[in-house]
Amino acid sequence: MIEIIEILLSANFWAAALRIATPLIFGVIGALICERAGVLNLGIEGIFTAGAMAGWMAVWLGAGLWGGVLVAAGAGALFGLIHAILTVPLGLSQHVSGIGVTLFATSLSYFIYRTALPDVSSPPRIDAFQPLDIPVLSELPFIGPALFQQTPLTFLALFLVLATAYVLYRTPLGLAIQAVGDNPAAVESQGLSVYAIRMGTVVAGSAIMALGGAFLTMSAFDAFFFGMVNGRGWICIALTVFASWRPGKALVGALLFGAFDAFQVRLQTEVGSFIPGQVFLMMPYILSIAALIVVARRADYPRALLVPYFRGQR
């Protein structure tokens, strides 16, 4: 019991929670805006991988860190465009197309990596983003080390949550995105293009997802290796439901998951001698399933999610 309280009271634990949550924040925000426009994007797992690889490789080839971030976003946008073309004007199954994009993006990333680096035993490293000490704030006791000693990408993720909420709820574009995910006919009858709004949103959402991947290779670690995304994309799809498609709740969900994960690592070192380690590894997933069961039953799905729209058909 004492150990648990000690874990929860350490600034180090909360810093880790926020760090673990960062790629999930990017992922869930990206998935959320795609779904708000009515398109489920199961390409997320592959887009994470593509973002991780592309960002890392750009830096390894000599680009600056922010250049790498842009390249990652561009890679995500490109795979998003594939998904958007397949699912919006062509109206194919969003599930099938999404899984296809994941397989394609993952395999292509591995292929390019292997082609560029045919025989390296240990993955080459880059100079990754370093924690940014925000003056004054980072020196606050407890809160400073917990919240304000993160890498720039974490702050970018938090900013994106705010920006997404603002765009979605306060701008004409956000209204159009919300409407197109609820009833595309409402958008068309007001003279807007359903296809343009849906495709644009999917491309932008995919670019944001890819930043989650970029965080992995450019902040959390400083190299790319196979299997590093490790299901984070799928977690984001679940978190989107958990968040009822709201950016604020999405942040809470991602942080909750990050906290579970950080907690299990620490608990493992405390009581790992008599409970098998796998139990702890399972914990965040089991807890997120439990949270989903509680929340998702009342989830308010975008009504047009998964429903393709064809002009002149009703």
């Binding site: 701008t171 209204l175 159009a176 409407a179 609820d182 009833n183 409402a186 958008v187 009858s189």
Partner: protein, 514 residues
């Protein structure tokens, strides 16, 4: 055709519009003029091409031949870009679709403003929008709670939001597709009063309808479409019901006449049945159906009719209350048991619940009796017997199809309904549950449905007729009950009722029969 005096004020002209879908010609060389301040009724049966024509006007479809011309303020008529709702809106055409085009997750205000602002704008200018709308509401009387989410609004309010959408964009031509289909008679009266006021202010209005009475009461001019062609275009003052009906149908109409029924013993009874939740729930419904009568259930769509039909057909277990059929308790019986006990279910959505489109006509005809010995032996289906029955039913019920093996989805709506009628009525059921049985059917198919229902009654079956069409109910039913917000009124003899009383009850005001 146009009066030369009005020609100067023409705001809209359709010129030689032709539209084909595959082999079907939906519109053939249709021309139409509309003047400022005029209310034009576009009359026609289902499938006459009314909606197609208006969708061409609004840019949802592109015409194969012909053009649309619209007057812009100060200048004469100019051609409207085809196939672009955006261009139509810009030119001042507003359209209220039959199925509302509103985003349920947004407020009324947001729905109205949607698309009128630059998408790259960083803020939505709601304050001036609200000001303009409040002015519009004050002038037109179209009261709407601007900040309520669409999902919380009533059907009438949603329709007013749709009209406000057009007015907010300064529409000069307003098109309404079957605007009264979802309204009570009183709500319809209010709507037409509003439209008259808007027309007096200079708005040109086209409303699509197949209801003759409202066309005569509320329009200045009538254009009649039949089979995609315009067959008449005349001032409403020169029309009467009979003339319009004949123009619409193309031949003289023989109405189904109901003889006085001879009701027998109670057959089906519901006692204080509650079921479901939300808008379509039932609350303590009592109902008694006698043999040899047609009991009509009137109501505006979405007031529990669907749930009532589900409960009676055994698709929904009531939360409380009991149901008996011929004296046996059937509460909680499933659909198969109800069919075995002698219930015929004519479902509301015949395409979705009435047939399996990919299966053949003969399979669809046998689908409710595949366990009967005539259709199976040792658990294997007897296809030859099924085909034979199918051939007999196709003959008796005049089902127009390529043959008993053709997929049911290829049939027209009227013929699909004939499959349902043949399947359910042929075994001579005790109780017939007919939910919206003539919805979307043309006059011929409708009168066929009516004859079959009356025949079922005359051989002693009890018929429950759920309908939104008051004329149909008053013509067929021996007694009529009204359902409103899941509560069912007592059933009164049709002779003691009139449209006004029924309309009040449909709106939830339990005025006693006058």
């Amino acid at each position: 055709m146009t009066d030369p005096i009005q020609a100067a004020e023409t705001v809209l002209r359709l010129d030689g519009i032709t539209k084909r879908f595959g082999d079907l010609t939906a519109n053939c060389d249709v021309s139409l003029d509309l003047a400022r301040g005029e209310i034009l009724a576009l009359l026609g049966e289902n499938g006459a091409g009314k909606t197609t024509l208006m969708n061409i006007l609004f840019g949802h479809y592109v015409a194969d031949e012909g053009q649309v011309y619209i007057a812009s303020p100060g200048t004469g008529l100019s051609e409207l870009e085809a196939g672009s709702p955006h261009a139509a809106l810009e030119a001042g055409i507003g359209m209220v679709h039959q199925h509302f085009t509103l985003a349920e997750n947004l407020s009324a205000l947001d729905n109205i403003v949607l698309g009128t602002e630059n998408l790259s704008a960083l803020t939505s200018a709601r304050k001036p929008a609200r000001q303009k709308l409040e002015d519009l509401i004050a002038r037109s009387g179209l009261s709407v709670p601007l900040d309520a989410r669409i999902s919380q609004l009533s059907v009438g309010e949603k329709q007013r939001v749709e009209i406000l959408k057009a007015l907010y964009r300064d529409a000069r031509v307003l098109v309404l597709d079957e605007p009264t289909a979802v309204l009570t008679p009183q709500e319809s009266d209010t709507l037409f009063a509003t439209l008259k006021k808007l027309a007096d202010d200079g708005l040109a209005i086209i409303f699509i309808s197949h209801k003759l009475a409202e066309v005569i009461a509320s329009s200045h001019r009538v254009a009649v479409l039949r089979g995609g062609r315009k067959v008449a275009d005349l001032p409403t003052a020169d029309c009467d019901l009979r003339k319009l009906a004949e123009l619409m149908v193309g031949h003289e109409i023989v109405e189904t006449v109901r003889s006085k029924g001879s009701p027998g013993a109670p057959l089906l009874a519901l006692n204080a049945v509650s079921a479901g939740e939300g808008r379509d729930a039932l609350h303590e419904v009592d109902l008694t159906l006698n043999s040899g009568e047609i009991l009509g259930i009137a109501g505006v769509s979405g007031n529990g009719q669907t749930m009532l039909a589900r409960v009676i057909s055994g698709l929904q277990v009531p939360a409380s209350g009991t149901m008996t059929l011929a004296g046996n308790d059937e509460t909680g019986a499933n659909a198969r048991k109800m069919i075995d006990e002698g219930l015929a279910r004519i479902p509301e959505d015949r395409h979705h619940d009435g047939i399996v489109g990919a299966m053949s006509v003969s399979e669809n005809l046998a689908i409710e009796s595949i366990r009967k010995p005539q259709n199976q032996r040792f658990g294997l289906l007897r296809f030859s017997a099924m085909r034979e029955t199918a051939r007999r039913l196709i003959e008796t019920y005049d089902i127009r199809c390529q043959g008993e093996d053709s997929p049911a989805r290829l049939l027209s709506g009227g013929n699909i309904q004939k499959i349902v009628l043949a399947r359910t009525l042929d075994p001579e059921p005790q109780v017939v549950l007919a939910a919206q049985p003539s919805r979307g059917l043309d006059v011929g198919a409708t009168s066929d449905v009516h004859k079959r229902l009356l025949a079922a009654r005359d051989r002693g079956a009890g018929v429950i007729l759920i309908s939104e069409d008051l004329d149909e109910l008053m013509r067929l039913s021996d007694r009529i009950a009204v359902i409103h917000r899941g509560r069912l009124s007592a059933a009164d003899p049709t002779e003691a009722l009139d449209r006004g009383t029924l309309g009040l009850r449909m709106a939830g005001q339990s005025g006693e029969a006058a």
